[in-house]
């Protein structure tokens, strides 16, 4: 369960950004979360609310965009989205491939702020 420290990092990052903008209030953090990031969405949402308590972000929301895993198929020469993270193969031709092109994201993409 490392979601709490992940949440604390995001809150620090957002608070810094808000301070740089003259003490703006942060209403929400937008996050892209890959299925292969190693972070569980539900645990992160729970941790976020706990971690916000007593900070300038108390009452803010965490908006998560989940990113499915995409791999590159060397046969089709194209990207393909995985049906399951238990089976790394092209959904078109079935060729196994380890080449992940998306799905490891753990990235803040935006802040909803009030200046």
């Amino acid at each position: 369960m490392h979601e709490l420290s992940i949440a604390l990092s995001m809150i620090d990052m957002a608070a810094e950004e808000a301070a740089r903008r003259g003490g703006a209030r942060v209403h929400a953090i937008h996050l892209r979360l890959g299925r292969l990031s190693g972070v569980v969405k539900e645990a992160l949402l729970f941790s976020y609310d706990v971690a916000c308590e007593g900070t300038t972000l108390e009452g803010s929301r965490l908006v998560i965009e989940e990113v499915p895993v995409a791999v590159y198929c060397p046969v089709c020469r194209a990207e393909t989205t995985l049906d399951s993270v238990q089976m790394f193969c092209c959904r078109v031709c079935g060729t196994p491939t380890p080449e992940v092109v998306r799905g490891k994201e753990l990235e803040v993409t935006g802040l909803e702020i009030e200046e």
């Binding site: 490392h2 992940i6 990092s9 190693g38 790394f88 993409t109 909803e112």
Partner: protein, 231 residues
């Protein structure tokens, strides 16, 4: 009356600090010519037992080796590993369930990396959290023991995906627990097609030659790549 909230776009990796520090560490390791391998597994898969054998063996072969070992609460593992006569340092993580680059950096304090050929980093026993953190290692080995079940990779695809090599441990028990090797290999290949798999027993020593050979070869390839970059 203040304006309504607006969306400001920023793009920042949440673990940017860790990633930057891991990159610095990797540069330091390469500059010193030390090859760094990390070990991840569930608790009790045999990381420490294998590492003790590995450190002893590599020292006998004339390599200069050292290890960092993460543990939630005790220094038992460091005491076990110290029997190999190699320098060993414990990283007690407290309640933190994984190692981070900053912990590795802190633990290296006072060590001369130039005096090492191999550095091993044993992560906290956990197949979930360590997957998110780059430690600056050249190679990540994920261990699974035959007593854990053949479908472990399917349950923890993320860690198998961040690792470079899978090591199946406790091979001496494989027959006793009716371990299905074909199913285990299929599980690994399903979540990480093409992944190199090694089978070892720390108890009997079976598979150790292959593991040591693999590490030496990988280190040599890395050293060659680094010198090619420099020249």
């Amino acid at each position: 009356m203040s304006a309504p909230p607006r969306l400001v776009e920023i793009r920042q990796k949440v673990l940017k600090q860790n990633d930057l520090l891991a990159r610095d560490l990797r540069d330091r390791f390469h500059a010193a010519g030390v090859f760094v391998a990390s070990l991840v597994s569930s608790p009790g898969a045999g990381k420490t037992a294998l590492l003790e054998k590995l450190l002893t063996r590599l020292r006998e072969d004339g390599w200069r080796v050292a290890a960092l070992v993460g543990d939630l609460a005790t220094d038992n593992d460091a005491a076990r590993l110290a029997r190999s006569q190699a320098p060993v340092r414990q990283i007690v993580t407290g309640t933190v369930c994984h190692l981070e680059a900053a912990m590795v950096e802190g633990a290296l304090d006072g060590w001369s990396l130039d005096d090492l050929d191999f550095l091993f980093i044993e992560n906290v026993g956990n197949l979930v959290c360590p997957s998110s953190y780059d430690l600056g290692e050249d190679l990540r080995l994920v261990f699974m023991s035959v007593t854990e079940g053949e479908d472990k990779p399917l349950k923890y695809p993320t860690i198998f995906n961040t690792a470079d090599v899978a090591v199946i441990t406790k091979m001496d028990l494989a027959a006793a627990v009716e371990f299905d090797m074909t199913a285990a290999h299929a599980s690994i290949q399903s979540v990480r097609p093409g992944m190199r798999v090694l089978e070892v027993s720390s108890k009997t020593g079976a598979g150790m030659d292959e593991l040591v050979g693999f590490l030496n070869k990988t280190r040599a390839t890395k050293a060659f790549e680094m010198s090619a970059v420099e020249s």
